[in-house]
Structure formats: structure tokens, C-alpha cells
Symmetry: C2
Subunit: 347 residues, 2 copies
């Protein structure tokens, strides 16, 4: 069957203790036996049984990560970064998806706790009292991750949603827009926060938010591209024509741009358009799209660091929350010839 320490030990007339020491790189073994042991391990393809080790040591060197979905790059990008940075500290990650089902999420949490993860990272899909209760009873260190981390008053790393709207709007202001429209996403906390940032950016420079240039959350189809097309159509009919449009997603922005182009509008000179998400596939077509990048890699890195800090400090350390800022990526859809250099300088 499978090779154990004992097999190597008897092969070499040693005790399994010595094998264990070699395995873990302890210093009190002669160079010669060490070499013999390593040699035999190679030959037999020995692989330590981590279950057994964990049972003894009480730690698994594994960390659970539960995300809402694997179908959305938002989560996989964060996950990739978390995995990468935890691996540097020799931790493995048990990655699960809750598939946006609260019930499945709960089961995955239980499952990972049963597998004795040393810490748990949760990008939750729900805000139920039941979950809050559950997360309070567990001993395992827990870090909440965007989205949904806002609701838990504990260790959390989140994306600064408000700043997304602010960044987009103030960029348009800087390239000279005076009548800035906003195509909002479907009703959600994130959508509200981005809109709040948007309004703040306008009011800071004395511009007012025009209701006729703001779409209601539920007045448009949920399909993003179509949503953008219809929003643009509405703006084209409006009394006040916008000269800049902030879109809740990149795909909405593409719909907007297509409709505006069809109507003969020049982008970016007549109307500048900016999206959110900085999706590589969507931002490099026809008129390359300026977008607000969510800094998902940074979020993952901060999360990994917070977890490691928690693990290092034994005992319930102080609650710490981190909010990561999005970044602006300027491309053709907002690059007006006269303003471009100024704006690049401010990035």
C-alpha cells in the first residue's frame, strides 16, 4: 500500500523518529543518515500523511476560502491573489464556492471547519442573523472579504465602493465634462455606494446631479449590454445632452458607446464614457474603454496578510478592517486631446 515512515525506518534499520526528524529538517541528525533517509524517500515516493501530522500538531497549514461564485472574475481574481500570497507562507487554500446559495455557504463553512482549517476567509453572500451567529461561535480565526464584509464588525478587507463612483466622476470632471450622466446597476448596496461617491464628486466641484441624466435602478433591463443601449437612448432624447457618462459596469458602457456611435456622437470628444471593472476582454475593443479597476489583487494580498497576522498573534487579537481603493485606468473613451496630458499626470 502507501509508504509510511515506518517502512523507511525498517528498511534502513532506524526508528521512525529519525525519519520524522529528517522530514522536518531538524538539525540533530548526522549528515550521513540524513542522506540515506532522503535517498530512500525519493526511491519510494514517500509522501507524508498530512492528516496524521495535523492530528498530532493541531494545525493543518490550510486555510479555507469561500467565495460566492467561481463564475465571476471578481471572485476568482481575489481568490488567485489570496492563494498566491498564502502560499508564500506555506499555507494551502481550500477553495469553495457557495454558488450564491446561503444554505450551501453554511454547509461549506461547516465542511471547512471540520477539515480543521487554521483560518477561514469568507466572502459571504448573505447577511442573515444565523450566519452572524455562526461566525461568532467559531474559534477559528475568521476574515471577512468583499463583498458583504461590511456587515460584520470584525476582521474584514473590503473594496472602497464609494471611491469607485468618485474616481469615475472626478475623472470626467477633470477632462472637462459638465453634464455628467450615470447609468446605475440594479438595486444593491454596492450600487448605492458608488452612486453616493458619484454625487460627492460632482458636488465637490459645484456641479449638480441631474435627475434626467441618472437612470433609476429598476427602470431598465437587467442584461447589462441592453441596459446600456437603452440608457443611452434615453439620454439622447433628453433635453439636456450629457457630455460624460459613468457606467456601473464595463458591459453597460459598451452598450452605451454603441448606441451613441450609432447616433453619430463622437467618443470621447462629444461624450466621454467610463465603465467599472476594467475587464480585459471588454476594455480593448473598438474604442478602448476607460474604467475603474477594483484592485482585486490588492484585496487578496491584504486579506492574506491579515490572516497571517491573526495566525501569528495567538489569542483574540484586535479587530482590524482594511478598505482597499480602486484605481483609475484611462483609455481612449475618455482621452480628449486637449485634456489628456493633464489627466495622465494626476493618475
Amino acid at each position: 500500500m502507501t509508504v509510511r515512515m515506518k517502512d523507511i525506518a525498517t528498511d534502513l534499520n532506524l526508528s521512525k523518529m529519525t525519519i520524522s526528524k529528517v522530514l522536518r529538517g531538524q538539525m540533530d541528525v548526522s549528515a550521513k543518515t540524513k542522506a540515506r533517509v532522503l535517498q530512500r524517500m525519493k526511491e519510494l515516493n514517500y509522501r507524508p500523511n498530512i492528516s496524521a501530522r495535523s492530528l498530532r500538531t493541531g494545525q493543518t497549514l490550510s486555510i479555507g476560502l469561500i467565495v460566492p461564485s467561481l463564475a465571476d472574475p471578481i471572485y476568482t481574481d481575489m481568490a488567485r491573489s489570496v492563494v498566491k500570497h498564502l502560499r508564500l507562507a506555506n499555507y494551502s487554500v481550500l477553495l469553495s464556492s457557495a454558488e450564491f446559495e446561503p444554505d450551501l455557504e453554511r454547509r461549506e463553512i461547516e465542511q471547512q471547519l471540520s477539515r480543521q482549517v487554521d483560518a477561514l476567509i469568507l466572502a459571504s453572500v448573505q447577511k442573515s442573523d444565523e450566519l452572524v451567529e455562526l461566525t461568532r461561535t467559531i474559534q477559528t480565526p475568521l476574515v471577512h472579504l468583499y463583498p458583504g464584509s461590511v456587515l460584520f464588525k470584525s476582521n474584514a478587507v473590503d473594496l472602497h465602493e464609494e471611491e469607485i463612483g468618485h474616481l469615475a466622476a472626478s475623472h470626467l470632471v477633470r477632462v472637462g465634462c459638465r453634464r455628467i450622466a450615470n447609468v446605475r446597476g440594479p438595486e444593491s448596496v454596492a450600487s448605492d455606494l458608488r452612486y453616493k461617491g458619484f454625487r460627492a464628486a460632482l458636488s465637490e466641484v459645484g456641479q449638480r446631479v441631474r435627475p434626467e441624466l441618472t437612470t433609476e435602478a429598476d427602470a431598465l433591463p437587467a442584461e447589462d449590454y441592453e441596459r446600456g443601449v437603452l440608457a443611452a437612448e434615453r439620454f439622447l432624447k433628453s433635453k439636456v445632452q450629457p457630455d460624460g457618462i459613468v457606467c456601473h459596469t464595463d458591459l453597460i458602457a459598451l452598450g452605451v458607446m454603441d448606441r451613441l456611435s450609432d447616433a453619430g456622437r463622437n467618443i470621447p470628444n462629444e461624450i466621454a464614457v467610463i465603465g467599472c471593472g476594467n475587464d480585459p476582454k471588454l476594455c480593448e475593443m473598438r474604442i478602448p474603454l476607460s474604467s475603474v479597476d477594483f484592485s482585486l489583487g490588492e484585496i487578496g494580498e491584504q486579506t492574506a496578510k491579515l490572516v497571517l497576522k491573526l495566525l501569528a498573534s495567538n489569542g483574540p487579537s484586535k479587530v482590524k478592517s482594511v478598505e482597499v481603493s480602486p484605481t483609475l485606468v484611462v483609455r481612449a473613451s475618455t482621452s480628449r486631446l486637449d485634456k489628456l496630458s493633464t489627466d495622465r499626470g494626476r493618475r
Copy 2:
């Protein structure tokens, strides 16, 4: 500390054996004690230690899945389906990404084997002898997964690449195309196979493959959208104008369509365009794009089933390979008014 069986046992003046039996739902426990035990488990938030159980039983009820990347929906879509179908059989999945690094892939394999996965599913990024050797030495049941499964003469589930090209080309033939062009992807096994299927489809109906309407693998930029734009440009200058174009990816197809539209060509009536991948974000814009769907969910399901079969039949069962067929999704970019109904009927 953490709650163990023993705690519940002493609390209730029982032996831990009884607790174990309740936990596993064995029948030889009185309803009354069973209720008491379950009650106390709830109260104390007891969670069985899976490391300990695995050590004893020799199985972890976990299965390793290693994919080349988490950044590409091809892999995450397969992974989601694998996870879903293995969960139905009560297995957890340890999901890792090799990030396209052969070295990391090898380390992840070792890691998962050390964690005693009951079986391993590998969508490999490499074809090295070293890896083939490694996979031959391990005792753990192994299933190879698209892509890269071709090279291993063992349990494998693969996508029928050749059929992708065939499906796309024969669809264009059916809607009446006579001069079908092909925009190939960068040099790869997959690209060659799809092209092979493409040629087969044409020759089956007596059409010839025209060199001037086939792009060389390396003659164009690697960036897909731009690749499509330039390919279309070349076709527009060609002596023979194509009336249908098969594209290696959806993004290439978008580039192609944009360039053709700019040149005033009508899609689909003058030129029909079809992509591969059926990416939801990319296929629903302007002229909705017909595409060949890779049936990734089906691949995942077949993989899960093969693994479960392997696990059920103890002993080295016969090698089994499955090849999953892609499917055609017809949208506006190939829907010619006169031929549409015929074609829909054949789907």
C-alpha cells in the same frame, strides 16, 4: 478548546463509541440516547475532526482538482460542474490552480496527494515525461481532464476539438456559404484539431479550403480582438471575398464583425460569422454572435462520474476515455432569413 467526542460522552455519561455511532447514523442506538447526543452536539457546536476520521478510515471523502488557471472561464466552468456533481456523492473538492507553471503544478499534485485525496483530477498544462512518470507511480486514482488529457493513455475526459471546427464550418455551409474563411488561433494542438475539423466539413460537401481565406497561426497579433480586425482587413483585400468566417474565439469574431461592419458589409447576409466559446458577455452585443459552445458543464459531469466509477470499483479498473461533443448555438450573426428555419430545425 475544541469540542471532541469525549466531551460529549462524559457530559452524558456515555462512551465515545456511542457518540460515534450517533454521528454516523448507525441504527443500534436507542432513540432516547440518540436524541440526547444530538441535542448536546448542537449545544456545543460539535464538529467531527475529519483528519482524525480519515486517519482511521483511510479515506478523506475529498477529491483533488488541479486546473491550469482560475482566470479563464474554461477552467472555472469545468471546475464548477465537477464540484457540483461530486458533492452530490458527498465528496468535497480540493481545488488548486497551477497558474500555467509546470513546477507549481507538480507541487500542487504532491500537496494534494499528501492531503490524502481519494482521487485526483488533473487538467494539466504540461506534457513532460517527468509528469507522465509521476502520474504512473501514484496509487491514487487519476483522471485526466481537458486540455492535455490526450497525451495520457489513461482515464480521461476530453473535449472533441475537431468537432468544434466541423460544427462551425458545416453550420455555415448549411446557411448557404460557399467561400468560407478561417481565422485560426495561435499555434496549438487545439487550433490544429479545430482546423482539421473545419477542413473535413468543407471537403465533405465538396468545397475546397482556400489558402487566401485562411490565416496563418503566427501571422497576426496574439491579442484576439485585434487579431480579428486584421484578419477581416486581409479578407476584404482578398481577390476572393468570403461569405462566411469561422473564428477561433468569440473575441476574434467580434473584431472580425466590427471591421466588416465598418467596411459596410452586411452580417449575416453578405458574410456570416461564427465564433467559438459561447462566452455570455461577448455573444450578446450588437449583432449577437453565433458560437460553438464547449459543453464544459457536460465535461465536468462526465469527469465526476468517471471518478466515482473508479472509486466504486476497487482495483485498477479498465482505462476509460470519454470525449464530449461541443454544441452549436445559433444567433443573429449567422441567421440568414431564407435559411434560418431549416437550420434551427437541425440543432
